[in-house]
């Protein structure tokens, strides 16, 4: 591979934070999955996603590419299966993770939502992840979580990215989530003004059909342009 192509890969998949050997391993996995230990690769990706927020935001892409590559090369699914099972393990322990490290918990939610977004099966999101993703987002909408800006931020970012798809897969649970958000916005004492702003924006976003009207956009984002 040309050096320039290698560099693009590093950047595309945000794997700069890995040591060079691991970067090499990941790049090989993308090109020639059957030549590497895919269980190990999925573990590496999982572990890094829990530590590195930048990586977890886009880790779904590299996962998707490896899944496709493996399927194409030998009809295999070792990578996907192992990744999902690790994801499930971490899901089971999520409450403990949250207690131990808010950062890790937020990374996990970001990662599972990213996987939901990218790892589609026949262009449809994986049904198996729908409830777990909702469980995570609803957890973020609980009173204790709303008190932490990182959790609120994570929640609204994920809803922007996958809210519409999630609602298509299961609308009642989205309603359930938004009841909590409304309650939180209206009743929760001690919310920071940033948290309230984020909540109001997401409420308007969904009410507008997962699109922000131009006037609302001006209200929330005009200062960023300056």
């Amino acid at each position: 591979m040309l050096p320039s192509v290698m560099e693009n890969t590093t950047d595309d998949y945000k794997i700069q934070s890995f040591d060079l050997d691991t970067q090499m391993l990941l790049k090989t996995a993308l090109k020639d999955p059957s030549s590497v230990n895919l269980e190990k690769v999925s573990d590496i990706i999982m572990d890094q996603s829990l530590k590195d927020q930048v990586f977890s935001k886009e880790a779904g892409r590299i996962c998707y590419t490896i899944v496709q590559a493996e399927a194409k090369q030998n009809n295999g699914n070792v990578f996907r299966r192992n990744l999902l099972n690790r994801l499930q393990q971490e899901f089971k322990n999520r409450e403990e993770t949250r207690r131990r490290s808010l950062q890790e918990w937020v990374c996990y939610v970001t990662f599972i939502c990213n996987i939901f977004d990218y790892l589609k099966v026949n262009n449809m999101p994986m049904v198996a992840l729908v409830h777990p993703v909702y469980d995570c987002l609803i957890r973020l909408a609980q009173p204790d979580a709303l008190m932490n800006e990182e959790e609120v931020d994570c929640l609204v970012v994920q809803l922007h990215r996958i809210g519409e798809q999630l609602e298509t897969m299961n609308s009642p649970r989205m309603d359930e989530l938004f009841f909590l958000l409304r309650d939180g916005f209206l009743l929760q004492e001690g919310l920071t003004s940033m948290a309230r702003l984020l909540l109001l924006e997401i409420l308007e976003f969904r009410a507008g059909g997962w699109v922000l009207s131009s006037t609302a956009h001006k209200y929330y984002y005009s200062e960023i342009a300056d």
Binding site: A71, N75, G76, N77, R80, R81, N82, L84, N85, L87, Q88, V121, N122, M124, M126, V127, A128, L129, P132
Partner: protein
């Protein structure tokens, strides 16, 4: 989850759930062949397969002995694999169905022009079929639950397709037809009720009588709303209590509501 798709892995070409039957009490029957991935499947359609390295049986805390791993897959890896496979199957079914309908339509048109017969309601079925993948998957799952029973197994062995009489013999609802949700769910319910007639006899020899009340068949009146083409009927709105003993099978099915019989006598491709 879709247990039947696990059975399919041992024979990618089969369309019948060969394994994992349930007895009357819902308990799993011993599987003759478990999920042995065939190394040389011999299939050329590129369908998805694993190379299995997993144990076929293991003992779980709940079970008293080795349990086939093909009990409901709790792990996400397997769930997604099953989803994948089911989607592929639904797509394949859809293609087959389309071809079948197109073929039937051409024949009908030819017949019409020659005999001047009145228009059949099926003539435009190909254009009006259900194609929403989520709906088809949900319906397929419901069908699978019904087919994954000892009763269905015994029924299909006992009554070959060409011997089946509409109204008398259960017919698998056609997932490609447009129906309202309620209509569909009722059809499935009634289909499964009918299948119970082929339940194997219980060990203690007691006749198992279905409690129709539990099934909420007082709602059966709603069928009228969903099948508007059917005439009103003074018939009792209770479904027949399927006699447990097989000797009564062919004899008295008059308890089955006329409404349901009418539906099933419509000419439709046999998807059972």
């Amino acid at each position: 989850m879709s247990d039947w798709t696990r059975a399919k892995r041992t024979d990618p070409h089969s369309s019948k759930p060969e394994n994992r039957k349930r007895g009357i009490d819902g308990s799993l029957r011993e599987r003759e062949t478990c999920c042995r991935g065939r190394e040389n499947g011999g299939h050329t359609d590129g369908s998805y397969r694993y190379t299995e390295k997993r144990h076929a049986n293991f003992t779980t805390p709940e079970s008293t002995g080795p349990v086939s791993r093909c009990s409901r897959a709790a792990d996400w890896g397997s769930q997604v694999d099953d989803e994948d496979e089911m989607r592929r199957d639904v797509h394949r079914d859809m293609q087959r169905y389309r071809r079948r309908i197109l073929g039937a339509e051409v024949t009908q048109r030819e017949r019409k022009t020659s005999s001047g017969s009145s228009e059949s309601c099926d003539s435009r079925e190909g254009e009006n079929m259900e194609t929403d993948e989520a709906v088809l998957l949900r319906r397929q799952k419901q069908i699978n639950y019904g087919k994954n029973t000892l009763a269905y197994d015994r029924y299909t062995k006992e009554v070959p397709k060409h011997m089946r009489q509409p109204g008398v013999h259960p017919k698998t609802p056609n997932k490609f037809r447009k129906y309202s949700r309620r209509s569909w769910d009722q059809q499935i319910k009634l289909w499964k009720v009918k299948l119970h007639a082929w339940d194997p006899p219980t060990e203690d020899g007691q006749d198992k009588v279905l409690n129709i009340g539990e099934l909420g068949l007082d709602d059966v009146i709603d069928i009228e709303l969903d099948f508007p083409t059917l005439p009103d009927s003074d018939q009792k709105t209770t479904a027949s209590l399927p006699a447990h003993s097989l000797s009564l099978e062919g004899e008295d099915c008059s308890g089955t509501p006329v409404k349901v019989q009418k539906t099933e006598s419509r000419v439709e491709p046999d998807m059972a």
